[in-house]
Structures are given as structure tokens and as C-alpha cells.
């Protein structure tokens, strides 16, 4: 981290500092070239940030809130950590969930806590690219880094995503505009295709827009696989997918001519009927294309460290999400051990929610059950989930107040360079406090260590 003082602090004017090469954790791009102007405990300018990053940095200041709330009443950290340990130790089928907006160091401790209490650890991946995680296990992932995309990709397909609005710097930093070692003319050396149901803002950035019919992504990917293998398709494929056969053949011809192609696919693929089968079809298409030339497929990840959650849970348990640790060994079974399911079925009897707000975006049956069980929440903001929590910790914001490690959407770890200190503890500190209490009690009373 390099920090330069722009001016000296006085009583009248707080210190102004510039944090060079800070890291934005709003989305999975994890841009690490931010220059933040910091006045006191507020970021006043975020140079190089996109519209989302700008909003992220300028709206995370220190709020005047208690360290924690217990049953809605202000409490200190020590008391709240005691209560959190009570809740988690008393549970028979506890769920740990969230983790996509915190550091990998904190994620690691959350997995450890779940292991000690014999619960389920699941992350927001399960309602994001969880289906792609299932697909990786089915057909594999022909993959590459965003650096390779920047320097090599001459044919880029965006599928089921709208990077112009969800990852605003992806085009300019990685996938379309940059001049790279093997694409020296930048955008002129690349062909861009957008596949989506909606003709979004991203369509303007593409050379070719394929407007696929809703819920026909699988059929489209399968048709392209057939064309990749040189099979003849019936013209009725247009009726099925919404795209004329001639157009599909033109796209396939371009894909085969490419030197380095990549399919970057979003949640339009994973959240739609078919889900992991849609992802499998796209991953298989990328694999098949390697019979002709170099092709890759990468999911476009949303939250700042959702990729880190996949990595940490994988290297801790052997599986990426939806892992049950109550049998003394990890068991992975999406649908059985994923948060949306154990909540909607009314199975979880307590929850530890870290950096996530399922009360605002889970299915109604899941929210209904979540509202009936004791939950412990760690969040910098008073989220809808924190409002109903038995214990709600106010924590510092990762990347802005807290250092650590996050993983970019292409699995590249990136260090955080915080801008200013927070009076609140980090997720890592709170989780360590909860973990130590759980262990002390389990060691003091081995019978409780079920």
C-alpha cells in the first residue's frame, strides 16, 4: 500500500490522504487500481472507480451504531459473542451462510466454526453460480485468467449477463477494449457476441446480438455444439431458440476462426430453468471448441469475494458450497445441504449469517422459516436480516476498513488496501471471538462437542 499525505491535519480540517491502488470489492472484477481520496473517516473521491465502485466507496462511512444488538437492544461485543456461541452450540442443525462479501481469512474461520458445531456451510454461490459449480464437476471447466482474456481473446461471447450494468469495467479492463500482447489493436482485433433474452445496454458493445428465447439457453448451446461437430441442423432450430440457423452457422464459423475464444456466462444461465444443465452445455461447448482452436468458459461472478468463498470452502472441505459437516466428514449435496433448501423446508434450527441479507432476497418460504429461528448476523449495515436477528454484530467493511485477501472472478487472489480505520471489529475478529468461546465450552464440557 502506498499512502501519500495531501495535506496535514488540523483541528479545522481533517487529514486528507490518498490511498493508491486500493481494491474495490463491490463486484467480482475486484479492480485493484483505485486511487482513494480520504478525508478523516470518509472517502470523498474514488479515481478509476466505475459507477458501482464509486457508490460503494462514497457510501461506506462510519455509522453511529452499537457494537451489537441482542434481541434488538444495544450490547457490547463480548456479551454478543457469548450469546452467539450459546445459540450455535444449542442448535442441532445450524446453518452458516453468506460469506461472499468478507475476506478469505474470515471465510476460513466461518468454515472452522461450522465444523466445530457440526453444521452446514453454504455461501451465496448456491444462489448465484452454484449450478455452474455442479456443472464443473460434471464436465470440467476449460479455463483461463482475465489476463489471458485481455492479452489473447479475439472472440468473446457474453451469455446471459449484462456486464455494462453489473460489471461496468469488465469491457474496458479485461474483455473488449484493452490492447493486449496478441490483440494489439484492442477492440478492433476482437469480435464480441452477446446472447441474452433482453437487448440490454451491453448489446451496444457487441458486434452480434443473439436474442435467445426465454429458457432456451440449453437448446441454443446444444445447437452450437452440434454445429461445432459439423452436424447438420434443421431450420426449425429458429423456432426453438429464436435465432435463425444461418446466424448460428455464421457465429460458429467465427468461433472456429478465432485464435483464442472465451465464453463469459452470467446468471441468466444459472437462474433459469435448466440451471446446472445450462452451465454444463456451455462448458461442454467450450470444451468441444478445443477440437478446432483454443476456447475457454468462465462464469461472471457477482459479489466481491464470492469466488474466494468457493476457494476457501473447497480447500477447507473439498467441496465448494452446500457442505454438511455434522457427520464428522464433509458431505456435499446441493438441494439437500444448500441454504435455500434447508430454510424453505424448515430444517435449519439456527443460522450464522455473514455479510449477506437473505431476508431481502430469498424465496418467501425460506424467509418465512428464517424469521422463526435464532440467527446471528455480521453486517456493516443494519440489513433486513440483521433487524430480525437475535444477535446482530456491527462490523467494519472489508476493503474499506479491513485488510485481507479476496479472489477475483478468475480465481486470482488480490490483497485489500483499506482506506481508514473503523471503530468496529472486522468479521474475522468477531468470528475468532465466537470460535474461541465455542471451543472453550466444548473442551470444558466434551459432551457438548457432538
Amino acid at each position: 500500500m502506498s499512502t501519500s499525505e495531501a495535506s496535514s491535519a488540523t483541528e479545522a480540517s481533517p487529514e486528507v490522504r490518498v490511498i493508491k491502488d486500493a481494491t474495490c470489492t463491490f463486484c467480482g472484477c475486484v479492480c485493484d487500481d483505485m486511487d482513494l481520496t480520504v478525508v478523516g473517516n470518509r472517502i470523498t473521491k474514488a479515481k478509476n472507480a466505475c459507477v458501482l465502485g464509486n457508490s460503494w466507496f462514497l457510501n461506506h462511512h462510519i455509522e453511529d451504531r452499537p457494537e451489537a444488538l441482542i434481541d434488538g437492544e444495544p450490547a457490547g461485543y463480548e456479551q454478543a459473542m457469548d450469546r452467539a456461541a450459546d445459540i450455535l452450540l444449542a442448535a442441532r442443525f445450524p446453518l452458516t451462510y453468506g460469506l461472499s462479501d468478507t475476506t478469505s481469512e474470515a471465510q476460513r474461520v466461518a468454515v472452522a466454526i461450522t465444523d466445530w458445531i457440526g453444521g452446514i456451510v453454504d455461501t451465496t454461490t448456491s444462489v448465484c453460480h452454484g449450478p455452474s459449480g455442479i456443472a464443473f464437476q460434471g464436465v470440467g471447466e476449460v479455463t483461463c485468467s482475465l489476463g489471458e482474456v485481455k492479452n489473447r481473446a479475439d472472440y468473446v461471447i457474453f451469455w446471459g449477463g449484462n456486464p455494462a450494468e453489473s460489471h461496468p469495467r469488465h469491457f474496458t479492463k479485461f474483455s473488449l477494449m484493452p490492447k493486449g500482447e496478441f490483440v494489439p489493436n484492442g477492440r478492433k482485433d476482437r469480435t464480441a457476441v452477446l446472447i441474452d433474452v433482453r437487448k440490454t445496454k451491453s448489446a451496444k458493445a457487441a458486434d452480434i446480438f443473439l436474442q435467445v428465447k426465454p429458457r432456451r439457453d440449453f437448446e441454443l448451446a446444444w445447437a452450437l455444439r452440434a454445429l461445432a461437430k459439423g452436424l447438420e441442423l434443421d431450420a426449425s432450430i429458429e423456432e426453438t431458440t429464436g435465432i435463425p440457423l444461418e446466424t448460428l452457422q455464421q457465429v460458429m464459423d467465427g468461433m472456429k476462426r478465432a485464435k483464442f475464444g472465451v465464453i463469459l456466462f452470467g446468471m441468466g444461465v444459472t437462474m433459469t430453468r435448466g440451471k446446472h444443465l445450462n452451465s454444463e452445455a456451455i462448458l461442454a461447448l467450450a470444451r468441444d471448441m478445443n477440437q478446432h482452436t483454443r476456447w475457454n468458459a468462465k462464469p461472471m461472478r457477482g459479489h466481491g469475494n464470492v469466488t474466494g468463498a468457493d476457494n476457501v470452502v473447497s480447500w477447507s472441505t473439498g467441496f465448494p458450497f452446500g457442505v454438511h459437516l455434522g457427520s464428522g466428514f464433509p458431505r456435499f449435496n446441493p438441494g439437500e445441504f444448500t441454504a435455500a433448501d434447508v430454510l424453505a423446508r424448515g430444517e435449519a434450527d439456527a443460522a450464522l449469517i455473514i455479510a449477506s441479507d437473505p431476508m431481502s432476497n430469498f424465496s418467501q418460504p425460506a424467509r418465512d422459516h428464517l424469521a422463526t429461528i435464532p440467527i446471528v448476523v455480521l453486517d456493516p449495515k443494519l440489513s433486513d436480516t440483521a433487524r430480525i436477528a437475535e444477535v446482530a454484530f456491527t462490523v467494519s467493511t472489508y476493503g474499506i476498513n479491513t485488510g485481507g485477501t479476496v479472489y477475483r472472478m478468475d480465481d486470482v487472489p488480490i490483497p485489500l488496501r483499506p482506506a481508514f480505520e473503523s471503530p468496529y471489529k472486522s468479521d474475522l475478529e468477531v468470528l475468532r471471538g465466537i470460535e474461541s468461546r465455542i471451543r472453550q465450552r466444548q473442551l470444558a464440557d466434551p459432551a457438548s462437542d457432538a
Binding site: F26, C27, V51, L52, N54, S55, W56, L58, N59, H60, D122, S126, V127, G130, P131, I134, N162, A164, E165, S166, P168, V197, R198, K199, T200, Q211, P214, R215, M267, G268, T270, M271, T272, R273, K275, H276, G302, F321, G322, P334, G335, T338, A339, A340, D341, L343, A344, R345, D357, S360, N361, F362, S363, Q364, P365, A366, R367, K381, S383, D384
Partner: protein
């Protein structure tokens, strides 16, 4: 009379920026509570911007103001709403064994909301809470 549509909840730039300002802010609540309708469907159903419509399926029901989608962004028969509390009222708990509920491409019905005056206070939480699964 209700008509069948396919609803796509998704992310928008404004949702992302207002999210950082806070989920209780007027901007965020307005963004996640505005239903985009294809201009052709707006015309056919004689809807005007701000008119309240009821969107429902076998899971739940929401009443939200509608507006015409930009240009040709939405084909007829497709609705769009920013992903959030409102759209979640229409999401079922079944994940078909994969952990992911059907979150996009939802089969829904749309009808002009009866008993409410067009343009009245969109986006309040009370609307959603009053109209939980029927």
C-alpha cells in the same frame, strides 16, 4: 383480465448504486419495485407509466407500478424487475435438488391492479406484506 407473462428479475446499475446508499432508501425501494413492460404490451394493455399492476403466480403476489422498457430492450411477453424483495415474493422454495430456486424466467400473470389508484405510493413494504402468497 390477467394475462400470462414471463418475468425476469435481474440486476441494474441503479439497483447497485442505490444498494450502497441503503436498502431503506427511496431510490433503492423505487428501483426494486418498478416493473418494466415491453412498449407494445404497455400499449396493448392501455397501461401508462406509474399505473399499478398486480403480478402473481402460485407462490405469491405483488402490486407494483409499471413503466415501459427502454427501446427494444424487452420483447413482448417478457417483464423485467430489479432483483430484490418484490421479486422474491414470486420465487418458490423448490430448487429441483440443485440449491438454486427458479429465480429468472418465472411464469406469472399480470393484471391491472383493482381497487388502487394509478400512481399511488409505489414501493412501500406494506404492499408486499399485505399480498403474501394467497
Amino acid at each position: 383480465m390477467a394475462e400470462p407473462f414471463i418475468l425476469i428479475p435481474g440486476r441494474t446499475s441503479r439497483q447497485g448504486t442505490t444498494l450502497n446508499e441503503g436498502k431503506s432508501t427511496e431510490g433503492y425501494l423505487e428501483e426494486i419495485s418498478s416493473l418494466q413492460v415491453a412498449p407494445e404490451d404497455m400499449q396493448r394493455l392501455e397501461l401508462e407509466e406509474g399505473d399499478l399492476v398486480r403480478v402473481y403466480n402460485d407462490v405469491g403476489s405483488i402490486t407494483v407500478p409499471c413503466k415501459a422498457a427502454r427501446g427494444d430492450e424487452l420483447p413482448p411477453g417478457i417483464l423485467f424487475i430489479s432483483y430484490g424483495d418484490k421479486s422474491s415474493h414470486l420465487m418458490g422454495g423448490d430448487t429441483q435438488g440443485c440449491g438454486m430456486p427458479d429465480s429468472k424466467g418465472l411464469d406469472v400473470f399480470l393484471e391491472v391492479a383493482s381497487g388502487v389508484v394509478a400512481g399511488q405510493s409505489p414501493g412501500s413494504r406494506e404492499i408486499a406484506e399485505d399480498e403474501r402468497a394467497e
